[in-house]
């Protein structure tokens, strides 16, 4: 994470931190109106990761327990798998759920975010969310289970600073696939197969613009974080081609599954292997394929935002998320992949174990750099994240 280089880090005492927080809160209304003389001017470099008190102070001063404010996807709080731990440590978990990843900065960067202890992020956000000041750092010693993960997850820039500290803990990963009704159509092999006229009114696209654009860019061989306007137009053309075959744009992956089960759609762009298992519960044969013209991986990670007011418990929670119990829950309940190699042999259901190519994915990740979202704002010919969203709105409106 090159952005962290050279950031001046000065540790502050808890009392000083609280005093400054109070001053900042008091000056907020005025700051809103005055500080941004603002966006038109060249912004000053933004500290990328919020410094926190050194671990030995916090660990000694506070014990694990008390209220833990969780703000992420429903299911990522693993209520069953964490129950025993919560009872043992007297942790009162307060969960609030997001509808999309973008809900998180909207909350954390507003006064309503005060007290949120743990969040999750899709890896492609890490640069923009770092710029927004969404993360705090911690050491590997504070989350000992980090060393149990696949080496890629221990070393990747998406979680680890060049100094060796961490700002994220990978929880799980998956690959985007085409889900298809194996009883109704032949197995597609490429994403671009979905442009064929035989899929007319039989395709379901998911309302996940970030994933859709990243996958489309991969298919077209376009680098996402340095994308130009012309390249974005290419992607738009590709997505419009898919839309021409689409029956609907499903608001969620759950709805995508419903569409396959009901037969309204026979294939998806993009999809998730878990849909196969969900459909099987309804007795409907749905299979998935990792298309040869674009393998794209999604990774979700835990992080501790600067709004956290129960850091020892938040750190312990992150560590717990990497425990075999929770990782098995990830695999069996969420039907996504584990980040711990030693958990793979523990997966009893062969069908679930075979959903992901555990043997080959690390080689793929070492070989290919993951796709990033572009910055929130850009100048010149480079497109921004806002341009991505605008293009997606245009695709839906046309």
């Amino acid at each position: 994470m090159g952005d962290n280089n050279g950031v001046f880090v000065r540790y502050v005492s808890r009392r000083e931190f609280l005093r400054k927080l109070g001053l900042a809160a008091a000056s907020l209304p005025a700051a809103h109106m005055l500080a941004d003389h603002s966006l038109a001017q060249t912004p000053e470099p933004v500290p990328t990761v919020t410094p926190v008190p050194p671990p030995e102070l916090t660990a000694q001063a506070q014990a694990v327990g008390g209220q833990l404010d969780f703000y992420s996807w429903e299911g990522y709080d693993f209520l069953d798998a964490t129950k025993k731990w919560r009872e043992e440590h007297g942790v009162d978990l307060k969960s609030a759920y997001i509808a999309s990843s973008d809900d998180t900065p909207a909350k954390i960067l507003s006064p309503a975010g005060k007290g949120v202890d743990v969040i999750t992020y899709f890896y492609a956000y890490y640069q923009t969310w770092t710029e927004l000041g969404m993360f705090t750092e911690f050491s590997a010693e504070e989350v000992p289970n980090i060393k149990t993960m696949y080496p890629f997850f221990q070393q990747g820039e998406y979680w680890r600073t060049p100094r060796g500290s961490y700002f994220g803990v990978p929880l799980t990963w998956l690959t985007y696939v085409i889900n298809y009704r194996s009883d109704l159509i032949e197995r597609p092999s490429k994403w671009s197969d979905l442009l064929d006229a035989k899929f007319k009114n039989k395709l379901a696209i998911v309302e996940d613009p970030g994933a859709n654009i990243i996958v489309a860019a991969t298919i077209l061989g376009i680098k996402t974080d340095t994308m130009t306007r012309k390249e974005l137009e290419e992607i738009k053309k590709f997505l419009l081609g898919l839309k021409a075959n689409a029956k609907t744009i499903a608001p969620s992956y759950g709805d995508l599954s419903n569409l396959l089960v009901s037969g309204e759609a026979v294939a998806t762009f993009v999809g998730w292997a878990a849909l196969n298992v969900w459909a099987a519960k309804d007795g409907v044969p749905v299979d998935s394929v990792e298309p040869e013209d674009g393998i794209v991986i999604s990774i979700d990670s835990y992080a501790i935002p600067p709004t956290c007011d129960n850091r020892p418990t938040a750190l312990a929670w992150c560590n717990l998320m990497l425990s075999p119990e929770v990782q098995l829950s990830v695999v069996n309940d969420l039907l996504t992949a584990t980040v711990r190699p030693d958990v793979v042999p523990m997966i009893q259901d062969e069908k679930v174990r075979n959903l992901y190519a555990y043997d080959t994915f690390e080689a793929f990740l070492q070989e290919h750099k993951l796709n990033m979202f572009p910055p929130m704002e850009t100048t010149g010919d480079r497109v921004s994240y806002a341009d991505w969203m605008k293009m997606w709105e245009e695709v839906k409106a046309e």
Binding site: L34, K243, I249, P251, K390, E393
Partner: protein, 285 residues
């Protein structure tokens, strides 16, 4: 004097409530719409750029039109069917009047999303309607256009909002003097003419209230069109959400909100004028 100050004191809680829950948020939005924003930051300088973008961008115009289209169509159909239902309950139901009225009220209590998903089951390719048509031998293949279309959206929304227009009109119909209708008939007016000249003008305000209510709720709805509207289901509300949440561009989000309010106000003003011209609304209303 004492009496007057007592009045102020009594109304103070209401004033505080309206100011705190209505004027303050809307005022904040109005200020935001003139500020420069992006990346979850908002501040000076003041700008008209947000409104310029909201009113000139072709995508936003298209999505506002989508919203207006669905809103007007739903409100129009709901008003007609709601009127028919209210008229039947008020004039023709006899002893079952209270039962029908109770059923209309109870239907409001049904879960919104449950009803939307119920329509998916009814209109789907392997749904109830297609199944019935195939079993009756009227069609050989399922009709694919029933679901995931604007028609599906309007059908589902009309089903949800008919009780609101019906109850609004029913209250007005109950106040229409039956003797006036009888007098019109005695003077030689046919049933339709008597309805047009006596009943309808006296219930015009209720019709407009129902229309307004349904239009505002359906044109601003973006969940239903996403679930059953198919590729045409995108409404302007989604863009407002995107600006506030996905992009942290509160200024443009607020300007879009006000542009929607202005457009909706224009639509309602046009509807009011049209109803006046048709004689549904009386002069002076």
């Amino acid at each position: 004097m004492r009496h007057q100050s007592g009045g102020y004191l009594l109304s103070a809680p209401l004033v505080v409530l309206v100011a705190g829950l209505l004027i303050l948020p809307i005022g904040t939005f109005l200020v935001y719409s003139f500020l420069t924003s992006g990346s979850y930051q908002i501040g000076l300088p003041l700008t008209l750029g947000n409104y310029l973008k909201a009113f000139t961008d072709a995508t936003y115009q298209q999505l506002i039109l989508n919203s207006v289209h669905i809103g007007v169509l739903t409100a129009f159909v709901s008003s007609i069917l709601g009127y028919y239902l209210a008229y039947y309950i008020s004039f023709r139901a006899g002893r079952s009047k209270n039962l029908l009225l109770a059923l209309t009220v109870v239907s409001i209590l049904g879960g919104y999303l449950v009803r939307i998903y119920a329509w998916r089951i009814i209109l789907g390719t392997s749904g109830v309607l297609n199944g019935a048509l195939i079993n009756l031998g009227l069609i050989a293949e399922p009709l694919g256009f029933l679901l995931f279309s604007r028609t599906a959206v309007v059908v589902a929304l009309v089903n949800i909002y008919i009780p609101f227009t019906a109850l609004s009109v029913y209250a007005a119909l109950e106040n229409v003097g039956r003797d006036q209708i009888e007098a019109a008939r005695d003077l030689g007016a046919g049933p339709l003419y008597a309805f047009w000249k006596v009943t309808l003008p006296q219930t015009g305000r209720a019709v407009f209230t129902g229309f307004l209510f349904v239009f505002l709720l359906t044109a601003a709805d973006y969940v239903t069109p996403q679930l059953i509207g198919g590729k045409t289901g995108t409404m302007i509300g989604v863009v407002v959400y995107d600006q506030f949440v996905r992009l942290g561009n509160q200024g443009l989000g607020a300007a879009l909100s006000f542009s929607i309010v202005l457009t909706f106000a224009a639509v309602l003003a046009s509807s009011w004028l049209a109803m006046r011209a048709l004689g549904i609304l009386r002069q002076g209303v």
